[in-house]
């Protein structure tokens, strides 16, 4: 069906000429004198709102003011979407004195757009984010094409909207909904956008022209704001709402770590009833935020993500994935790949875990808001395979069985002669060395590691592990596969614990040692949380699985030539008694009531945070020295996306660099004297500074 359609011409004209002196917009007038203005940033598939785009728009608005069309339509010439937001590359230039005046110029352009004496209509397909959304908000109408989404993700960059979004969105829709969107960074998809009143109409592409004509004729009704909007113009009502927002925000993004959402709340509290004042204050607040470390580091994280993503280019040549082992990891990997469109067979000798895997996949579909039909198709693609016949059909076989070298070797040998000619065998091992496993692989050149993190559906990172004999093309295909299933690949070499576990394990082990020393487990976890880790070490160990922690810990201890801490007694005891953490319902914590949330509002003993965090920095320096990864940025990105390492700190190496290598090594040496050799600084520090 799609094939047939691709041979028909596109009924919409997406290539009108550029107006004179303009490079980023195209424009044409139709026979009803409606001006169609199409954003088309050159040399890219995605529109971003740069200085040039705004300057060009200013030029065009000048032309239109001289020669009024009946209406102005603004849309994107890119098939992918409306516009992704501001050009983040330009943020770095905006930290100087000129930032305020640059922003004011941008505001002037959008004010000019908003003041046009004829109707302006934004037609949005795909995403309208950040500054793209702000342009759409400056129009009189927004027509959403099915699948459109609107959002302000600025908060994820340590910022809030800066091109008028903070006053235009609360003026358009229920202000509390508007604030929620800006505070959480969550976008509103088509029907939600219509319901909120962001879009005045939601149509399929084939009815865009008719909807535009209706809007141009003044017959497209806008949705009113309702009672709450009126109420929120009073200071008293806002104060009440603000109190709730503050406490909610503090829970997930404490002000010390993430100033942006709090600045936004302040902004609205003070100026919520006066759009002009809010506009002025928005500019000041945005410029201040740009200068914060949090924003700088979060923007850094954005680029780290881009860097990892850039490695996924190319074709994976993988249509069918065969996963061996329906344990927690195997089931999640299989479910996730099926969700992202791969045909998947999941093999296990027992039908029961296969059944559980299907149920788990259904749960993930629900969490990811798939429609009934999308869920059905994902589950159709995920085929339990009790006899393992999928191995002979698959382009990629992922082994995810327990960490027993003999078992893995036996499975690899059984695959020999069965797998397709150019199929890849990957292991999800987290603690065994690939160099050893490769000996039993049918073809070591087509054998590599594909190390996912738990839970796969939430953790964006996959370590793509090469051993000495892995073919380069195989690694390219595996990285492309990560892109195809919407995960970020980190190329690493075969090293004990690879990268992420090597860096993370000291955090977990030190947490357990502190527990052994008699500290309260909630205090220990609070120290990690206060630093900005997504979980304290003991909660995280439970989440990872204590058996896996033990495997990784022992493997590191036996294969690294370093004075690592002995495996804590308490870890062995827990694993022996079957309390393996979240998956068994009990580890250091009781998980029957969900994830434990220790109260962070307490005095952390001096030195405790450094004991937990600095060993991670030290391990990171060791990995860099050992060339486990290509460079420091890849390392920081991998640790952030693989562990959730406090993103606003920019990664373990970035953090160490900010604090100063001298200071960090001095503290490490002091701790080594006090607590043992495990803190002795790595020799890589001398070159790291």
């Amino acid at each position: 069906m799609t094939d047939v359609l691709s041979h028909l011409p596109d009924p919409a004209d997406r290539n009108p000429p550029h107006p004179e002196g303009v490079t980023t917009w195209r424009m044409a007038r139709d026979n009803e004198n409606i001006a169609w203005l199409l954003l088309d940033c050159p040399d890219t598939g995605t529109n971003t709102i740069s200085q040039t785009v705004l300057r060009d728009l200013d030029t065009i608005l000048g032309m239109l003011e001289h020669d009024h069309p009946r209406a102005l339509v603004m849309r994107s010439a890119k098939p992918g979407g409306f516009a992704a937001g501001a050009d983040i590359n330009q943020f770095a230039d905006m930290r100087g004195e000129g930032a305020g005046s640059m922003l004011r110029q941008g505001h002037d352009v959008l004010d000019r757009l908003a003041a046009l004496p004829f109707p302006s209509i934004a037609v949005v397909h795909g995403a309208a984010l950040g500054a793209g959304f702000e342009i759409a908000l400056a129009c009189d109408h927004r027509i959403a094409v099915q699948g459109a989404k609107f959002g302000f993700p600025e908060v994820q960059l340590g910022l809030h909207p800066g091109l008028g979004g903070t006053f235009r969105l609360p003026a358009l829709i229920d202000p509390v909904e508007a604030m929620t969107m800006m505070l959480t960074g969550k976008s509103a998809h088509d029907r939600k956008a219509l319901k909120l009143g962001i879009a005045d109409a939601l149509v399929p592409e084939r009815h865009v022209a008719a909807a535009v004509r209706q809007a141009a004729a003044g017959k497209l009704d806008t949705v009113g704001q309702g009672f709450r909007a009126t109420a929120m113009r009073t200071h008293a009502a806002r104060t009440l709402a603000v109190r709730k927002m503050r406490s909610e925000t503090e829970k997930s993004a404490p002000r010390d770590h993430y100033p942006a959402p709090h600045a936004l709340i302040d902004l609205w509290e003070e100026n919520g009833s006066d759009a002009k004042a809010m506009q002025k204050a928005e500019i000041v607040s945005f410029v201040n935020l740009l200068k914060t470390d949090a924003a700088k580091n979060l923007i850094r994280v954005f680029f780290l993500r881009q860097k990892l993503k850039a490695r996924t280019r190319g074709e994976d040549g993988i249509a069918h994935v065969h996963v061996i082992g329906a344990g927690a990891m195997g089931a999640e990997i299989a479910a996730w790949a099926a969700l992202r469109g791969k045909r998947v067979t999941l093999a296990d000798l027992n039908p029961e875990p296969l059944g559980c895997a299907v149920k788990r996949a259904g749960d993930i579909c629900r969490k990811k808001h798939l429609t009934d039909i999308e869920t059905r198709d994902a589950l159709d693609r995920l085929m339990p395979d009790p006899t393992g016949i999928g191995a002979a059909r698959a382009d990629l076989v992922i082994e995810a069985v327990p960490e027993k070298p003999d078992l893995k070797a036996k499975i690899y040998q059984s695959l020999a002669g069965q797998m397709k000619e150019d199929a890849i065998l990957a292991t999800n091992t987290s603690s065994l060395r690939l160099t050893d496993l490769a000996k039993s692989a049918p073809d070591p050149a087509r054998f590599a590691g594909l190390h996912f993190f738990n839970p796969v559906s939430q953790m964006p990172l996959v370590e793509v592990v090469a051993h000495q004999h892995t073919n380069r093309k195989v690694l390219d295909r595996l990285r492309a596969f990560c892109g195809a299933i919407d995960r970020l690949p980190a190329p690493v070499r075969d090293y004990p614990g690879f990268l992420v576990n090597r860096v993370l394990t000291p955090y977990l082990m030190e947490g357990m040692l502190l527990l052994d020393e008699g500290h309260d487990k909630r205090m220990i976890d609070a120290a990690g949380l206060r630093f900005g880790m997504p979980m304290g070490p003991l909660t995280l160990a439970d989440q990872v699985g204590l058996d896996i922690c033990l495997d990784v810990g022992e493997s590191l201890k036996s294969s690294l030539d370093k004075p690592l801490a002995d495996i804590p007694r308490i870890l062995r005891d827990k694993v022996e008694s079957g309390d393996t953490g979240k998956k068994s319902g009990r580890g250091f914590y009781d998980w029957s009531d969900g994830t434990p949330r220790p109260d962070t509002d307490r005095d952390i003993p001096a030195g405790m945070t450094d004991r937990l965090i600095l060993p991670m920095c030290d391990a990171a320096v060791e990995c860099l020295r050992e060339k486990v990864v290509e460079d420091a940025d890849t390392l920081d990105g991998a640790v952030i996306f693989g562990t959730g390492f406090a993103p606003f700190r920019g990664g373990p190496l970035h953090y160490a660099r900010k604090r100063g290598a001298d200071q960090v090594t001095r503290i490490l040496r002091e701790m080594a004297e006090k607590h043992g050799d495990r803190f002795a600084p790595d020799k890589g520090w001398s070159r790291f500074a």
């Binding site: 069906m1 799609t2 094939d3 045909r343 067979t345 039908p351 029961e352 296969l354 059944g355 559980c356 299907v358 149920k359 788990r360 259904g362 059905r376 198709d377 589950l379 159709d380 085929m383 339990p384 395979d385 009790p386 016949i389 999928g390 059909r393």
Partner: protein
């Protein structure tokens, strides 16, 4: 035009799942997908290589109009796959094979996926006609007064829905329930309760043995539902079935004197089955190993009130065309709609007058050895998803011929409404 040989190369089905309370975990197309996925996975050819997909299904649900096409797309046979659904009641799953067989034999097609599916647990509740009219009137109501007036026409019995399944199992011409047609045959051929119960017990024992011995592996593929349950085998089987417990059951259709009980009738069940049919050309092109060759097929029709004799009327012309006698047929799969109905067919073949007057034979066919008939049980022990059974008996006949090292067999079924279908296979 010369007839081209047609091969049955492989097939698989879901476990048959007894309808317990409420709708089962799978819709008709869900079942077809569950059976089709593992079957397609083990083929050496690409799943878009089929020329056609045909699926038998009697109770189609509103969300799955033309279930064959929905199944074809969900199984990834490609957007270009032509697919149609067949309905000849209990013969639907065999009608799909027969149609595929004829297309390939005549040279227009080479590789066809032919199946049957039925989710009797999803058979709809039907609103009474009066209720439908009332509901339509409400929708047309003009203003609140009119609505109130029409509302007053509401009757409590409107909420007593008609069970669609019950109507589906009743013959619309004679108004006899299928079980009653079995009572008619039991009376006319003198089948007593003990004979029917003995037959039913053996059906359970035979299926239990086949499951135990692994004779169904490869044919029955596990199905996995969204609640995480793995369904691995036909779940209506009662391995410890005995005469005492069967004797305790009351007649199901004609109380109190009837002989047909829930114990000696087929079970109401959900399930799906597929077979792959291929021409010689397709066998060579894809390097396939055929299980069996389809040699002949036949449909027949008779008085709906004795529909249970359908197998006899449909099989006879095949035997005649090939000049085969009783001993030429190594194995029979006669669908077990009712024990009394199967036994009536056997009695008819032994009855001299019936064979002469009805079938035009010089002498009766004779007694068919129980060791050649339904060797691994049948619909009484594993259930009768109506659109599926015809497909299952052909598939199982092919597998049984192979396993037992036999040459030739006939799969045949009676069809509600007064018809019968039969298909003859030879091991390849």
């Amino acid at each position: 035009m010369t007839d081209r040989p047609v091969y049955l190369v492989d097939g698989a089905r879901t476990p048959f799942l007894k309808v317990r309370s409420g709708p089962g975990p799978f819709t008709p197309v869900d079942l077809a997908v569950q059976a089709g996925r593992p079957l397609l996975l083990r083929q050496p050819f690409d799943r878009t290589a089929f020329d056609l997909c045909i699926l038998g299904c009697v109770n189609v649900i509103a969300d799955e109009m033309n279930p064959a096409r929905v199944a074809a797309l969900r199984l990834g046979l490609g957007e270009a796959m032509v697919a149609f659904t067949m309905q000849i009641n209990c013969g639907s799953g065999m009608q799909s094979i027969d149609t595929a067989y004829r297309y390939i034999r005549d040279g227009s097609h080479n590789l066809i996926l032919a199946g049957g599916t039925e989710a009797l647990s999803h058979a709809p509740l039907v609103l009474r006609q009066e209720a439908v009219e009332w509901y339509a009137g409400m929708a047309r109501a003009k203003g609140p007064l009119d609505t109130a007036r029409r509302m007053a026409g509401l009757r409590p019995e409107f909420f007593k829905p008609v069970i669609g399944l019950e109507r589906g199992l009743t013959d619309p011409i004679t108004d006899l329930n299928m079980g009653q047609t079995a009572e008619v045959l039991a009376y006319r051929f003198g089948i007593d309760r003990t004979a029917a119960d003995t037959y039913a017990m053996q059906s359970h024992h035979r299926l239990a043995r086949a499951q135990r011995e692994g004779w169904l592996s490869g044919e029955v593929m596990p199905a996995f539902d969204r609640d995480g349950t793995a369904h691995v085998k036909d779940d209506g089987v009662r391995p410890d079935s005995d005469m005492d417990s069967l004797a305790k059951l009351n007649p199901a259709f004609e109380k109190p004197y009837g002989k047909v009980t829930p114990g000696n009738s087929s079970q109401i069940t959900d399930g799906a089955s597929w077979v792959i049919l291929a021409s010689e050309q397709a066998v060579e092109a894809h390097g396939l190993t055929p299980l069996a060759r389809i040699v002949d097929s036949q449909w027949a029709a008779l008085d709906p009130s004795i529909m249970g004799l359908g197998p006899v009327l449909a099989s006879q012309p095949i035997l005649q065309r090939h000049d085969f006698g009783r001993d030429d047929i190594d194995l029979w799969e006669v669908n077990e709609a009712f024990a009394a109905q199967v036994l009536a067919c056997l009695a008819a073949w032994e009855d001299e007058t019936f064979c002469r007057e009805v079938l035009g034979m010089d002498a009766p066919l004779g007694r068919i050895d129980r060791d050649r008939l339904n060797v691994d049980g049948g619909a009484i022990s594993l259930g009768h998803p109506v659109g599926t059974s015809g497909n299952r008996i052909v598939l199982h006949l092919a597998n049984a011929l192979k396993r037992m090292n036999k040459t030739r067999g006939i799969a045949t079924e009676c069809i509600g409404g007064g018809q019968g279908g039969a298909m003859m296979l030879e091991v390849a």
